[in-house]
Every structure is written in C-alpha cells, then in structure tokens.
C-alpha cells in the first residue's frame, strides 16, 4: 500500500466515524419525532366528541312536572321515559330489537343531558327543542374514522343495522363533532365517551402542590446549610453522599417506603393526593437539593465578603445577598424537579392511586387519581375509545411538562447573573 492509499483509507475512516456520530444524533432525534407524532396522531381526535342532533319533545304526561318547576323537583323527576320516547324517533325503526340497537348509539348520559337542558330552561314542557346528544363510544370511533367498518359483522362492535342508522344520520347531517367538554370536566368512567381527566387533573394538582410546599423549603434550607454553614466533617460528608445516592434510588423504592411508613405505620388515608404529595416530596428532595447547591456555589465569594466587610453577620450575608442572587437557579431547579414528579407513576401505583375514582376530589384527603396514573389505567382498558383518551391525556401531560421546563429555562436566562 502506497502512502497515498493509506492516507485515503485514513480519511475514509475519518468520514465513516463522523457519519456514525451524525447518524446516532439523527436516530435519537428521529425517536423524539416518531414518539411525539405517534401520540399526537392518536390523541388529537379525543378533544372532539361525536354528537347526534336529536329533537326532544318534553311531554307533560311522561314527566309529571309543571312548567317553572323548582330545581329540586326537576332533579328528582324521571326523564328516562322522555329520553326513550325521543331517541327512538331519531330513526324510523321497525320493531323493539331495532329500537334497542338505535338506543345503544347514544351515550349512557343521554338522560342527564336532556335533564340539564330542562334545568337551564324550565319552561320547555310541551315544546320541542333540538339537542346535541353525546354519541356512544362505538359510533364516536366510527365517525372519527378510527374504526374499520369493512370487517365481518361478528368481529365488529357495531352491527350492520347500526351502520345503516349511522349512514342515515350522516346523510341527514344529524351527526357532527363538538368540543369534548366531558374530557376535561368528568372523572373516570367505564364508558370511554364519558371518561375524562377532570379528577386526575385535580389529583395531580394537589399532589404537586403538596410536593412543592414540602420539598421546596426543606431543599432550600438544606442546601443553604450544606453550602454555607456546614463544617467540613464526617457528618457533612455523610449527608452529601446520602443525598447523591437518594437521587439515584429507583422511584419504586419510594413507593415501598410510603406503603410501609405513611400507610401502614402512620395510617394516612390510601389513594389520596396527600400521601402522593409526601411521597413525591421525599423523592424530589434530593433532586432539588443538587441544583440548589450548584446555584449557591455559583455566587462568587466576593459577594459574601463584601457583606461581611460592612459588618453583616454570616446569616445576614447569606440571606440578604447570596440567597436572592441564587434564587433564579434555585427556582428553575425546583420547577424541573416538580416536572419530574408530575410524570412519576410507579410510587403512586403502590400507594393505591390506581383505584377507580369517579368523583372529582374536593380536597387532598379524598381518593383520587393523577395524570400519569390515569394514562396507565386507561392503557390497560380494551375499548378502542380509551386509546385516543390515553394519548390525549399524554398530550396534556407533555404540554404541562413543556410549559414547566420553559418557565425554568426562562427564569434562568432572564434573571441569573453571569459573574465573569
């Protein structure tokens, strides 16, 4: 091999090596794109729900209430017959079986929706109005095109006759898509068309709030101690090693800790945001302390010395000068820690947040779910409608995380002082 050939070979190797590096960056970026694209394409349809425009006639004989009835009376009145009476008119069905199949196209909440319309305007007796009633999950998925209709009938959840009704609805423009208010307002439900993340949102909010209230002050105080006051001795070293190790302990171990200490020993109520918040706080604490210490360390000694020189005590120099300067870094570290806590699932499963909770929690000691746990729960469900709900929940979760991370980056860039 001549010199030139050897050089060429070495240059080819150089190019190859560079190519590997570029490819792996590209592959990593590609994964991000595929993941996000996959979730968004599945989930974006969940923000709309299919509704069937139906004429509803409020029959006095069936309702047994008067126009202008007080609210309590309406709440107690039975709207079931009115619902049946009106829904079967949506399509000219021939017999009972066909009527049953027709009724199955509406959601389980059709009666409540009609009642709500009457609650809004209690002078509707004897009148006919048009209402957009929520469609059942099967028709919802069909209308959104998530559901193949060319399968043989026995492998479909929708019968041939229901498809005929659906086509009739489409032809007469009785079916349309509205904003899915249930997805944001409702708690969990066994019916995908009625299930929402309202409960999970509130649960997550309480958990993160408790986590913030517990972890932030303790983390800031602990890092101030370790960075500014702690003498260099064995105890301090031990605490430091401890914090570094705790930050790397798998999150599920914190779940076991919470199960044994918080639930079995102290007997706090299971499945509640209170326990979730404490568990997440213990888990996030070391993860906040590390960036807090880094931002305290970044404040140059001259600041402290300047304060000490004009007669401030050690405490005053730290709390009047160092801490305010380190605050942006501290806050952004805390927000990033909280963002991690918001997405944490495993410890919450162990403390029983997987319970099926329909009601939206009104306080941190009510049983509740949280956003990531809701993702886990729904992903285990078989119904087609839950796939889009799960993806949409992930979209909500990711957008919260993105907002939090942006705030963290903004705080750091806007307020952090550069010292050199």
């Amino acid at each position: 091999m001549t010199k030139e050939e050897r050089l060429k070979k070495r240059h080819r190797a150089e190019k190859r090596f560079r190519f590997y590096g570029l490819t792996s960056i590209f592959v990593a970026l590609l994964f991000v794109v595929i993941l996000v694209q996959n979730i968004f394409s599945k989930g974006s349809s969940a923000f709309k729900k299919t509704v069937i425009t139906t004429e509803v006639f409020f029959d006095q004989e069936l309702l047994e209430i008067q126009n202008g009835a007080p609210q309590e009376e309406i709440m107690e009145a039975d709207f079931y017959d009115v619902m049946i009476e009106n829904l079967i008119k949506a399509y000219p069905a021939k017999d009972r079986d066909e009527e049953d199949e027709l009724l199955k196209l509406f959601s389980g909440d059709a009666e409540i929706e009609i009642k709500k319309a009457f609650l809004n305007d209690n002078n509707l007796i004897g009148k006919t109005i048009t209402l957009d009633l929520t469609a059942s999950d099967d028709i919802d998925q069909l209308h959104k095109g998530n559901y193949p209709r060319d399968l043989p009938e026995e492998r479909r959840r929708i019968s041939d006759f229901q498809l005929v009704i659906y086509d009739y609805f489409v032809e007469n423009k009785k079916i349309s898509k509205n904003f899915n208010n249930y997805f944001f307002n409702n708690g969990d439900s066994r019916d995908p068309e009625l299930a929402g993340i309202g409960g999970a949102l509130v649960g997550s909010f309480y958990s993160i709030l408790i986590c913030l209230l517990l972890a932030f002050p303790v983390a800031v105080l602990a890092s101030i101690y370790l960075e500014e006051f702690a003498p260099k001795n064995k105890i301090t070293d031990f605490i430091e090693i401890n914090i570094n190790n705790l930050a790397a302990v798998p999150s599920i171990v914190y779940g076991l800790l919470a199960l044994q200490i918080l639930l079995a020993t102290i007997q706090l109520p299971r499945s509640t945001p209170l326990v979730a918040g404490i568990t997440l706080a213990l888990m996030t604490l070391p993860r906040i302390i590390i960036p807090c210490r880094a931002s305290l360390k970044a404040v140059p000694p001259s600041i402290r010395e300047g304060a000490l020189a004009v007669g401030a005590s050690k405490f005053q120099s730290v709390f009047h000068h160092v801490v305010p300067l380190a605050l942006p870094g501290t806050l952004s570290g805390t927000i990033i820690g909280l963002a991690q806590a918001l997405g944490e699932t495993a410890p919450l499963i162990l403390i029983g947040m997987v319970a099926f909770v329909v009601d939206i929690p009104s306080s941190p000691v009510d049983p509740s779910s949280s956003l990531p746990v809701q993702v886990y729960l729904w992903s285990e469900s078989a119904e087609r409608g839950f796939v889009e709900k799960t993806s949409a929940t992930i979209m909500m979760l990711l957008s919260f995380l993105i907002v939090m991370n942006f705030i963290a980056v903004y705080l750091r860039q806007k307020f952090e002082k550069r010292w050199n």
């Binding site: 090596f17 792996s24 991000v32 979730i39 570094n244 604490l285 886990y376």
Partner: protein, 467 residues
C-alpha cells in the same frame, strides 16, 4: 382542630413579634440602654420560641395519636368480647367503630360495637383536650422563658441565628431520615419474609410463582404448605429477566448515546450543539409511563406483525420491545454524561496527537476515549442502574410470567414488574407474597446502590485526574 391551633399559634407569634420589638425599643429609649441587637431581632426571638416547640409538639402528637387510639380501642373491644382472628379483622372492626362515632355507619350495631364507639368518643375527647392544654402549657412556658431572656438584653441576633442554624441542620438531616426510612421499611418486611423463606432458596431458586402464597398467613403455615412455598420464591428468573432487558436497552443506548456524545463534544458546531442537545434531553424528560404506552400499544404489536410476516412467533410482550424502548429512554443519560466527560479531557492531549499527524477520529479513538474511559464507564453504569430500576416501561410492555429465557422475542419479567404486580390492589399484609415485594425492593435498592457507588467513584476519580 389542628388548623385552629396552628392559626392561634400564628396569631400569638405575630403579636409577640410586635410586642418584643416595641418593648425593647421603649426600654432602650427610656433607660438609655444600648441594645445588643436590632429591636426586630428581639421580636424574631420571641416568635421562634413561641412557635417552634408548639408546632413540633403538634406534629409529633398528630403522628402518634391515631396509632395509640387505635391500639387502645382494639384492646378495649377485645376485652369486651369482640372476636377477631387477625390484624385485618381488627382493622375492619376499628373502621366500623370509627364510622359509628362519625354517624356514617349503616348496618347492624351490636352492643360491643356501641360500647366501643362510646369509648372511642371518650378517648378522642380526652386526647384532644389534653393536646390543647399541653400546647398552651408549652407556649406559656417557652414565652415566659424567652421574655425573661430579652428583658436581660441578651444578644438576640446571635440567639436567633443559632436557632435558625439548627433549623437548617434539621432540614439537611431529612435526607438521612429518608434513607433510614427506606432501609428500615425494606428490612422490616424482608426479615419477616426471610424468616419463612430461606434466603438461599430465594437467591438461588429458579422458579418464581408468588401467587401460590396468596392470602396465606405467614404465622400459620403447615409443613406441607411450607414445602410448596419453598420453591415459589426463586429470584433467578427475575434477575435474569431484569438483566436481559437492561442488556437489550444498553445495546441500544450505549452506541447511540456514546456516538452522539462524541459527535457533540468533538465535531458539532456550537449552533448544532445548542439545538440538538436539548432535543435529545427531551427523551429523558418524557414520563416513563408514556414510553410504556408507546411500547405496549405501538412497538410490541409492530414487532409481532413483523415477526408474523417473517414466520417467527413473537410475543406481543417481548423483551425486545421493552428493552428497545428502555434503551431510547436512556440515550440522553449516556450521551450527556459522556459529552461532559469528553469535554473535560484537556485540549493538550488532543493537540499532542494532532501534532504527530493523527486525524481527528484517530485522536478520538486512541487518545480522547482512553483518557475519558473511567468517566464513560461511570456514565454507562449509572445508565444500567436506571435501567434495572425502571418500572413503568416494563410493567406495561414486558410480561408477567417469570420465564427463564434468552430469546428476546419471548416475554420475560423483571424485579420492578413483580413488585408492582404483587402490591397493586388489595394486599394481605402478613402473607409471604406481600413481604416478598419488600425483599425484591431491598435487593433492587442494594443493587442500584452498589452500581451508583462504583459509578460515582469512577467519575469522581476521573475528574480529579484532570482538574
């Protein structure tokens, strides 16, 4: 009640602050004394003395009150003839008694329960009253003490700072308390587990089927049952499955992460680096439950489909799918850390290599990487410890049955999956099945601790070498 007490303590503290501040001011003006601290520090001093002892007492009391009341009530119920064979029944009866007291119980109430509910009401009353009395006692004593102190014109600032410093120290101790809590809670149940199951049967058994021990009280196991349980808790298939999935994950994460770290540190322009680094780090910020969902619903079925087309039987919960997705999650851990490590290799080493005519890639391969090797190994070990502790991806995408297999297309299970499966839903607290989850947790904790220790040592040693 507690909220009222905290509110009262706050009001006392605030008023004491203003009292202390104005009092010292007037004294100093009237008697022309030079104060040892600014007047507000005398206020702070009073506040700290008024609030801290009372709040600490309230916290400790609130933690222990329910536990103590419960044990008393269960004992009185037992004395009155209530029959319960184990802890769960006792808990149930206690809950009933509590519900009767609150008026939310709708069922048959027999005389024992009624008596106990009355006793419960009595104890709750007693405890609440004594709590209030004790807290006020504490406040009065500590306020009198602190008022005396500030009357003598003590060095209030120094004293306040000593107390605050104590507070700071206590905050930093919480990390140690957490570690102790983890160790004790894991050890406590694990010891119970190992008193039933021999530790060697656990460590070297090749069969994991904890459902055999379902709802079985550890204290009353017969000899026949014991024989059966003996080989239900074999750890080998779990550690094999865990390492196998982690190994697949590392096969994905190490090459991609390392090469992107190298490219970012050595080749990329500042602009490329500034854009691509945060995007890759997004992968670490995505909640793992999202990866789990993606693996279970998209990747698993996709592999299965591809396998079918190739004529292979691929489980839809294959180790390959879980491992691949876990590997993607771990890429940024490897790439960021190795990027940092490579960046801290001194430029002089590179310059020396260029000077003798090496190309950039030759320099990287023969000089930079060997120099950075301890740090890179450290970052890979940290990534391994992430992989074996990762829970949601494997819970959602890996299998539940413990198969001993090295075929990546079959399903296998992991330590974390089993912990979740055992503890999700209702648990029998005294069955070996539940306790085994804690034994698994302990094993996991120790394993990650060792890995982290080695990794941190390696990275630290390496840093010291070039600092």
């Amino acid at each position: 009640m507690n909220i009222v007490l905290i509110f009262l303590i706050t009001i006392f503290s605030v008023s004491l602050f203003f009292y202390g501040k104005s009092k010292t001011k007037t004294i100093s003006i009237k008697d022309d004394i030079k104060l040892n601290a600014l007047p507000k520090f005398y206020g702070y001093y009073l506040v700290l003395w008024c609030s801290i002892p009372a709040l600490v007492f309230l916290l400790v009391w609130s933690l222990f009150e329910p536990v103590i009341i419960k044990s008393i009530i269960i004992e009185t119920a037992a004395n009155q003839g209530a029959i319960f064979s184990d802890k769960n029944e006792a808990n149930l009866i206690y809950e009933k008694i509590k519900a009767i007291h609150l008026g939310t119980f709708f069922g048959d109430i027999d005389s024992i329960l009624k008596e106990s509910a009355l006793a419960y009401a009595k104890f709750i009353n007693l405890f609440t009253n004594s709590k209030v009395v004790l807290i006020f006692g504490i406040i009065i004593v500590s306020v009198i003490y602190s008022l005396k102190k500030i009357k003598n014109n003590n060095k209030a600032r120094d004293d306040v700072e000593v107390i605050l410093k104590g507070l700071l120290f206590v905050s930093s101790l919480i990390a140690i308390l957490t570690t102790l809590g983890i160790i004790f809670s894991l050890l406590f149940e694990s010891i119970k587990f190992f008193s039933v199951i021999n530790i060697f049967d656990y460590l070297f058994g090749t069969n994991w089927s904890p459902q055999r021990a379902f709802v079985r009280d550890a204290s009353s196991i017969t000899a026949a049952e014991f024989e059966e349980l003996k080989d239900a808790f074999g750890f080998i298939p779990l550690i094999a499955g865990t390492s196998f999935i982690a190994f697949i994950a590392m096969l994905v994460a190490v090459p991609i992460g390392l090469f992107s770290g190298i490219y970012m540190a050595e080749y990329a322009s500042i602009k490329v680096r500034r854009i691509s680094k945060p995007i890759i780090e997004i992968l670490a910020g995505i909640p793992t439950v999202v990866y789990g969902f993606f693996a279970a619903l998209t990747v698993g079925p996709f592999f299965r489909q591809v396998g079918e087309n190739l004529g292979l039987t691929v489980s839809s919960e294959s180790a390959l799918a879980a491992g691949l997705i876990m590997g993607i999650m771990i890429i940024p851990y490897v790439s960021s850390l190795s990027d940092d490590v490579i960046n801290s290799v001194p430029q002089s080493l590179r310059d020396g290599s260029y000077a003798v005519g090496a190309t950039k890639s030759e320099t990287i391969k023969q000089v930079v990487i060997p120099a950075a090797l301890p740090g890179i190994i450290g970052s890979v070990l940290l990534a391994v410890s992430r992989a074996i502790g990762e829970t949601m991806i494997v819970v959602m995408a890996a299998g539940l049955a413990a198969n001993l297999t090295i075929n990546p297309l079959e399903s296998t299970t992991t330590i974390t999956t089993q912990i979740v499966m055992i503890l999700v839903g209702d648990q029998e607290f005294d069955s070996p099945k539940t306790q085994s989850a804690f034994a698994l947790g302990l094993t996991l904790f120790i394993a990650t601790l060792i890995l982290n220790y080695i990794a941190q040592r390696a990275v630290k040693k390496y840093r010291e070498k070039y600092d």
